[in-house]
């Protein structure tokens, strides 16, 4: 397998921290292996779920509610249809508990007759048939008899609270009393669809033992496994989940796959044959989880020198109809709500409530992009009011080593907020360009807010702008999450002399299948392609936890490295004086298989009290800065994001090529969030529930993205890595909005900044600073 020489991602920035080729880092190979499954994906040989053939398989579909809130009185099958040729399943067919196992177990697999429909597109019944045409024909012949109930669509009007938290430190009143300037703001963000390009797909195959084998597109095999056991009353062995090649997830295939797997299984058990549930895009958008919409209210006090002295933040998230992951999404949102800034007097309050809309769930960033957008808007608006550079305001407030967060966490190590800030400012020539855009704005007549047309001086129809944002992202699970799930990852020397890594962490494009073998190979001193990555099959691999929270490389990678070290030690102890790479084949022949199971142990010194929200909310934080450059057409308010400088501190770079890929992909999703992606909701229903109407960035919308990787290692992980997947998602959106302000003079408080919103603000309808 070809390898690469080591290189840094940056050539032009002086004193770039970036990867140092001479430095030995556990898990980092001398060269970087190419994507392991790349050739199969490029030749069409790779099998995604819908590519798999199961002889005799039927197709399944879901009959969904068309109301947002109603009592389900009856499910009527048209008497003119011969239903004996197909299979219909309802809640009455569920052998176990009618819940999709999650945090609160409030979501039914199917709404039972007599039960309550809580959102549009909620699953009520299932239908399987030998062919899709029959399904299309019969779908409309199943009628739901319902009695409407009054729906709630406004999260602030809901009296059903999924989760509520408050964190306070210092004395808020005293803080505001000492402020020279108080700035208030309300920021709103809507649903965002993950829009993995492969739709949800699941195939259930009934087994002889009464069990089920699931083949699916999913992030977390053991989440699905747990859900199957609970609702279908299966033993650990009877439920088997295999993650097939997965065409993107971004959080969207974290928990909804449990639901689909249960649906496919119910039909498969009843039809006694494999059943394929392959969603079409329309169904995938209208029914599955989105990023939580949020309303964030800020009140901040600063001195005239730009020192933050008080922060009062209130976050309201719309959980949708069921709890799903809302408590943890909200928790992460809350803990990041102040931004990466030191402040002595802080109150953070957060609440997630129930509405009669489809449930919201995980999406890259997991609550933090919502609240960090608001925090950065606030910072940028404060800078404007103080007539201070937004860079300078941040310099005066960013976290430094040994600062304390609102939960009382002392940042003892791995703090790179200043570093990423300075890197981004340097690489983008931020201050120089800001001066120029200010000059251009002055030449246009003082501000971009003058009406388009005759008043505009000269013939410039386009305004340039540059914007900055800074962010942080707690690495791994919040609080004691990792201790609670106690992941296990394994490395095995098989009896026939093969080396295998066994984890349940899935490949969704981020590079798990490449990086884990690379890490083990680096520890064992063998080439990467000598190490196999076992399939993500619950019958084979241990529960190493879900593939979420940017935890794969940091947490599971740490376990894998430790397991590899123990394997190496065991083999070398049995073969004194012979290095592992020479000894392992003979050792396997002589001693049989050696398997090392490595269980997660709490990071030393990291303590968090989940009840009081005091302590180390995360073992460490990743730090990110983004500088965006935009052009805004002053007639149409169309925004072109020209380029983004993305600076991310990931602890240690294990594979720079894959790492950059994560930064680029996350940055573009954030640019989409800022400018384009908007779910229109009416009466609890998504209106633009097709790919033709829910727009994501194309290659023409995508900016040039320059990635600068910074390394501030975390001592708790053997390799120092802190994860990368979510970090870039937190910062690019507020940077783009700041750049739009720089170009036009208006602040857009609600995402996305569509031309309509920008024009409205430019014409004075909205956007004037609130305080």
């Amino acid at each position: 397998m070809p390898t690469r020489a080591f290189t840094s991602g940056v050539q032009t920035v002086e004193r770039a921290l970036v990867v140092d080729p001479g430095q030995r880092v556990p898990g980092r190979a001398a060269g970087f292996p190419l994507r392991r499954e790349g050739p199969a994906k490029l030749t069409g040989a790779a099998k995604y779920t819908d590519d798999l053939v199961f002889p005799g398989a039927w197709h399944g579909i879901t009959i969904r509610s068309t109301e947002a809130h109603a009592k389900l009185v009856a499910i009527e099958l048209d008497p003119d249809v011969d239903w004996s040729k197909v299979v219909v399943a309802t809640a009455a067919d569920i052998p176990g508990d009618n819940v999709v196992a999650s945090i609160k177990d409030d979501q039914p697999v199917l709404v039972p007759v007599g039960g309550v429909i809580r959102h549009h597109a909620e699953p009520v019944a299932l239908l399987a048939a030998p062919d899709k045409e029959t399904l299309r024909r019969l779908k409309g012949r199943i009628r739901l008899v319902t009695e409407p109930l009054p729906p709630v669509f406004d999260p602030e009007q809901s009296d059903h609270v999924f989760a509520k938290y408050e964190v306070t430190t210092g004395d808020l009143a005293l803080g505001f009393a000492g402020a020279d300037l108080i700035v208030e703001g309300t920021y709103r963000v809507g649903h965002q669809e993950q829009l993995y390009i492969e739709n949800n797909a699941m195939i259930a195959v009934p087994g002889d033992d009464g069990g089920i084998v699931i083949h699916g597109s999913l992030q977390c095999p053991y989440y699905v496994h747990k859900a199957l056991k609970r609702a279908l009353r299966l033993t650990h062995v009877q439920a088997r989940v295999i993650a097939e090649e997965t065409g993107g997830g971004f959080g969207g295939k974290e928990e909804y796959p449990s639901m689909i797997a249960l649906h496919a299984s119910l039909l498969a058990l009843k039809a006694k044959r494999p059943v394929r549930m392959i969603y079409e895009r329309h169904e995938d958008i209208s029914a599955t989880t989105k990023r939580h919409p949020a309303i964030v209210r800020h009140r901040s006090g600063v001195t005239k020198d730009g020192v933050l002295v008080a922060q009062d933040v209130e976050v309201i998230m719309d959980g949708g109809a069921y709890c799903t992951l809302s408590p943890v999404v909200l928790s992460r949102g809350l803990l990041h709500a102040g931004g990466p800034y030191r402040c002595p007097n802080v109150r953070l309050r957060a609440c997630a409530t129930r509405t009669n809309t489809p449930p919201n769930g995980a999406f890259r960033g997991f609550g933090a992009p919502q609240t960090e957008f608001a925090a950065e808007m606030q910072l940028n608006r404060i800078a404007e009011r103080l007539e201070m550079s937004p860079a300078e305001l941040r310099r005066r407030n960013v976290y430094r080593l040994n600062d304390t967060t609102p939960t009382g966490q002392v940042l003892r190590e791995s703090v790179a907020a200043e570093e990423v800030l300075e890197q981004a400012l340097g690489a983008s020539h931020f201050e120089r360009i800001r001066e120029r855009t200010a000059r251009e704005s002055a030449e246009r007549g003082g501000s971009g807010t003058i009406p388009p047309g005759p008043l505009r001086s000269g013939d410039r129809r386009v305004a340039n702008g540059i914007g900055l944002a800074l962010g942080w992202h707690g690495a791994g699970f919040t609080g004691s999450g990792e201790v609670y799930i106690g992941s296990i990852a394994s490395v095995e020397l098989t009896a026939d002399g093969r080396i295998r890594v066994l984890t349940a962490n899935t490949e969704m494009g981020q590079g798990t299948k490449t990086v884990f073998p690379q890490m083990v190979a680096a520890e064992l001193g063998v080439p990467s392609d000598w190490v196999e990555y076992a399939p993500q099959d619950t019958a084979e691999v241990p529960d190493s936890g879900p593939t979420v929270a940017s935890r794969t490389v940091m947490v599971v990678g740490g376990l894998v490295i430790r397991a590899a070290r123990r394997l190496k030690a065991a083999v070398e102890e049995r073969n004194p004086g012979v290095p592992f790479h020479e000894a392992f084949r003979d050792d396997a022949k002589a001693n049989g298989a050696t398997r090392i199971d490595q269980k997660f142990e709490a990071y030393p010194g990291v303590v968090f009290d989940d009840a009081t929200y005091v302590g180390d909310a995360y073992p460490a934080y990743g730090w990110a800065a983004a500088v965006a450059s935009v052009e805004v057409d002053l007639d149409t308010a169309e925004v072109t994001v020209r380029d983004v400088i993305a600076v991310d501190d990931v602890g240690k770079v294990i594979h720079p090529v894959l790492c950059e890929g994560q930064v680029e992909g996350g940055t573009l999703q954030a640019v989409g969030y800022a400018t384009l992606e908007e779910m229109k909701v009416r009466d609890g229903r998504y209106l633009n529930d097709r790919l033709a109407t829910y727009l994501i960035p194309t290659a023409m919308d995508a900016p040039h993205i320059r990635t600068i990787l910074v390394e501030a290692p975390f001592s708790g992980a053997p390799h120092g890595a802190k994860g990368v997947g979510e970090l870039p998602m937190d910062v690019a959106a507020p940077a783009v909005i700041a750049a739009i302000h720089d170009a036009t003079g208006v602040w857009i408080h609600d995402l996305p900044a569509t031309p309509e919103r920008i024009l409205a603000a430019m014409h004075g309808d909205r956007g004037a600073p609130a305080a």
Partner: protein, 195 residues
């Protein structure tokens, strides 16, 4: 070509009248009988088991189903199988005999990280090859324009554009470059940050 009958997966009612069509798929003649309503993409995937061609939407928006029809890239979800009668169809499976002998464009995607989840990749390759057949040395802007009907949610497109640039160079006869070399001196025509 061997016909793979995927039991009960074709999604058609047995009663519908079938129409005989002739295709040349990846260089081989295939005679088929299809219902008039069936899409080319479904026939490729379900009847011929050419699952490298993907389906990502129901509104012809994503481009994952892109194949070549008589040499030009088309979204095979917008073509009825009967419309393709008499035509030559080329899918991603035809680009390389096996994964050891990749087409230069595929090799460039591996080296320059032009794919993450890989779901958009077959369509991207087919669209890019259509462009390169007409313009062997396109600018970044021309590449972005050509692939703007192929959505990718993973990569941010930058590495796809770079992969196409590097692949095009090899197809023009230049020696292949590593990621490291390309990174140090991109061919891309990206704007300088202080333009």
């Amino acid at each position: 070509m061997e016909l793979i009958h995927r039991p009960a997966s074709a999604g058609t009612a047995a009663t519908e009248a079938r129409i005989a069509i002739d295709l040349v798929v990846n260089g081989e003649r295939v005679a088929l009988e299809v219902e008039p309503r069936r899409l080319l993409v479904d026939v490729l995937r379900e009847d011929l088991d050419l699952t490298g061609t993907k389906v990502g939407c129901d509104t012809s928006s994503c481009g994952t189903c892109t194949v070549h029809l008589d040499g030009r890239a088309v979204k095979s979800c917008t073509v009825l199988a009967v419309q393709a009668d008499g035509s030559a169809v080329r899918t991603v499976e035809d680009l390389a005999p096996d994964s050891e002998h990749l087409h230069p464009l595929q090799a460039a995607f591996v080296e320059h990280h032009g794919l993450q989840c890989g779901f958009c990749t077959p369509g991207m390759l087919m669209t890019a090859l259509d462009l390169l057949a007409r313009d062997p040395d396109p600018s970044d802007g021309e590449i972005r324009h050509a692939i703007h009907g192929n959505l990718c949610r993973c990569t941010g497109y930058q590495s796809i554009v770079a992969s196409i640039q590097e692949g095009a160079a090899v197809m023009r006869g230049e020696p292949p470059r590593t990621w490291t070399e390309a990174h140090a001196a991109p061919r891309s025509t990206a704007p300088a940050p202080d333009r």
